[in-house]
């Protein structure tokens, strides 16, 4: 068997892999099932691709099932997703029926036999109807459901309440439920294309390909063109900095074909940028992992000026690369950026500009914050910690049953 876990020894805190192996011993032979709605695209699928073989290596017999559904079902779950994150939606009875029927069809189609099942996000939540006797089922919610549209949450709640436990990414994302609610932060994989080490030559080559000169300090924000990420606010902050410091701004992201608002926001950003040759808008495909990696490594300062954020893993990615990050004072960003220690949190373009200037003026401060950020990320936001938390939940559930 390949020693995948062993490869993490060089990048994780001392003793981490040894401890994982010891925890794994307590669960050896357990049959674990993950269910979600897509094998490719999105953070959940990306993480499962990396986690499943690690579970296997620990002796946990792990399967991953994907549910399938009609266009109507995906329309329903997209609306659920928006409504649960607080955007008002009109959801017809036909959509609710499509959700229930698709889950029922998948109960017939999928092999749900396992000792522990981890059901990811709202799409497959209704599969709970098919929990085999004695099995322990977890609902893993990756989105912020702290202020949901009530009707949608009330529709989902009876399903979620029947699980053995729910897992959220932050305490403030949790809801009132009659089952235990555990907290597991998301993570990044330090060995993936998006985060692995790159040589200076590799970074330079990729930057050249992207048309970004490295003659001036680079300010970078990597995110979708979405109002919650406030790209126009970033341009405003850059303009304030530019009055005194020569630098470049790179806004790298994409717009999804099914997201009409993305194109509108991109147009707004283009208008804000005008003809400034030092601002680069990059529309990257979701597969551009190496490009993102190179941009983050080339950046002088990374910005994630969100006004609303789930967890914000782009912040962790930059911290892992030893970069000082300035992030919006919201959601999971506040868990990652300890103000003045592992980065800065801000509430306005003016605040963003203030800390960019402070960092540009004090390279030694950039170096210290970057180093502390990397150690913090190493300790708290790597995939090994994620795996450890999931093992802990499985052990805790087994303890309760016993």
């Amino acid at each position: 068997m390949t020693d995948m876990l062993g490869q993490y020894e060089a990048v994780t805190p001392a003793g981490t892999v040894e401890f994982l192996r010891q925890l794994g011993r307590r669960l050896e032979g357990t049959r674990l099932l993950h269910v979600n709605s897509t094998r490719y695209g999105g953070g959940v699928a990306e993480m499962l691709h990396r986690l499943v073989p690690l579970f296997e290596e620990l002796g946990i017999r792990t399967r991953w099932e994907i549910m399938t559904g009609s266009d109507l079902f995906y329309q329903a779950t997209k609306s659920f997703h928006n409504a649960l994150q607080g955007t008002s939606q009109r959801i017809s009875k036909a959509l609710l029926d499509a959700y229930v029927e698709t889950n029922r069809d998948n109960i017939e189609r999928l092999d749900l036999d396992a000792d522990v099942a981890m059901i990811h996000d709202p799409q497959p939540a209704a599969l709970i109807d098919a929990r085999p006797p004695g099995a322990r089922w977890l609902w893993r919610c990756h989105i912020d459901v702290s202020t949901p549209q009530s009707a949608v949450w009330q529709f989902l709640r009876p399903y979620v309440s029947r699980y053995d436990a729910a897992v959220f990414s932050l305490p403030k994302f949790a809801r009132r439920l009659p089952v235990p609610q555990f907290i597991v932060y998301p993570s990044i994989d330090p060995l993936s294309d998006k985060n692995r080490e790159l040589s200076i030559e590799q970074v330079d080559t990729i930057l050249e390909k992207l048309g970004i000169p490295s003659d001036k300090p680079i300010l970078l924000q990597v995110s979708r063109f979405d109002r919650f990420k406030d790209p126009v606010g970033v341009v405003e902050a850059y303009r304030l900095v530019k009055q005194s410091h020569d630098c470049r701004l790179v806004l790298a992201g994409g717009t999804a074909a099914d997201d009409p608002e993305g194109a509108v926001v991109l147009a707004e950003v283009q208008e804000a940028v005008g003809t400034d040759p030092d601002v680069h808008l990059l529309l990257l495909p979701p597969t551009a992992n190496l490009e993102i990696n190179a941009l983050q490594r080339a950046a002088t300062i990374v910005i994630q000026k969100s006004v609303r954020e789930g967890f914000g893993l782009t912040v962790t990615e930059a911290m892992w690369k030893g970069k000082p990050v300035i992030g919006g004072d919201t959601g999971g960003i506040t868990v990652q950026l300890m103000h003045g220690y592992t980065g800065y949190t801000v509430n306005s373009p003016a605040g963003t500009a203030f800390y960019i200037k402070r960092l540009l003026n004090e390279p030694e401060r950039m170096e210290i914050i970057g180093r502390q950020a990397k150690e913090f990320a190493r300790n708290r936001f790597l995939i090994t910690r994620h795996l450890q938390d999931y093992l802990g939940i499985m052990i805790q559930l087994a303890r309760r049953t016993a």
Partner: protein, 236 residues
Amino acid sequence: MTNAAASGQSTVAPDRAARPFQFVSCMELREVLGKRAMDEARLLELIEEVSTDSIYYHTHSCYLRHAYAQSLYPNDFATWVAIHAHDRVLGEKLGVLDPFAYRSPEELRQDIITIMDDHLNRNPARYRYTTGEPFDFVRSHVIEAPLNRHSWTLAEFRDAVQEVEVGALYNHLCEARMRKTPGFDDFSYWIAAKDGLQRPELAGQVERVVRLGLNLEGMRARIVGLCDEELRRKRS
């Protein structure tokens, strides 16, 4: 007078313990309790009613969570009132509490309540101040796993302390002291024990390290340093 006698160590302290020190690491699984405060008065009410597991989590777990980066204060209540409730005075009063000075989370809870109650009575305007960031009460489940590390001698012990995962330090220094054998950490207990290394002076020094207010990496460095000093003294 020999060095050992001068330092108060037993002249017959064995090189090898009769019982090895077995390192056990642990992780903390966090469970949110669904209890949330938006102001100091509600925070006080909930501190009075939550389980001691939650008090323990908010006053001790920061040592594990912030092993590489101490937050403003070493307990969540102090940090939250100072940063989110903008009450630096109360933050300072709570922040100075030494969790290792208490023999149980319940004792610590009573002192926190007394401090907060007194502060709110003196500053009634605080009752009307609502924060933007909630305080969510959490409790933790500690899950242990023994490591393949047994130390029979001081040198082996020193090397293991240097290398083990930070969870093992938390388990033997924090968990042991507050929840398993109140008042004693596992390291100093074994170093002084009759079936351990029988070095009470060194044990006392290790015990004092826990009370210095360091993070776990800081405690690790100090304890390794004390072991090195003792090994040097023994060699000379």
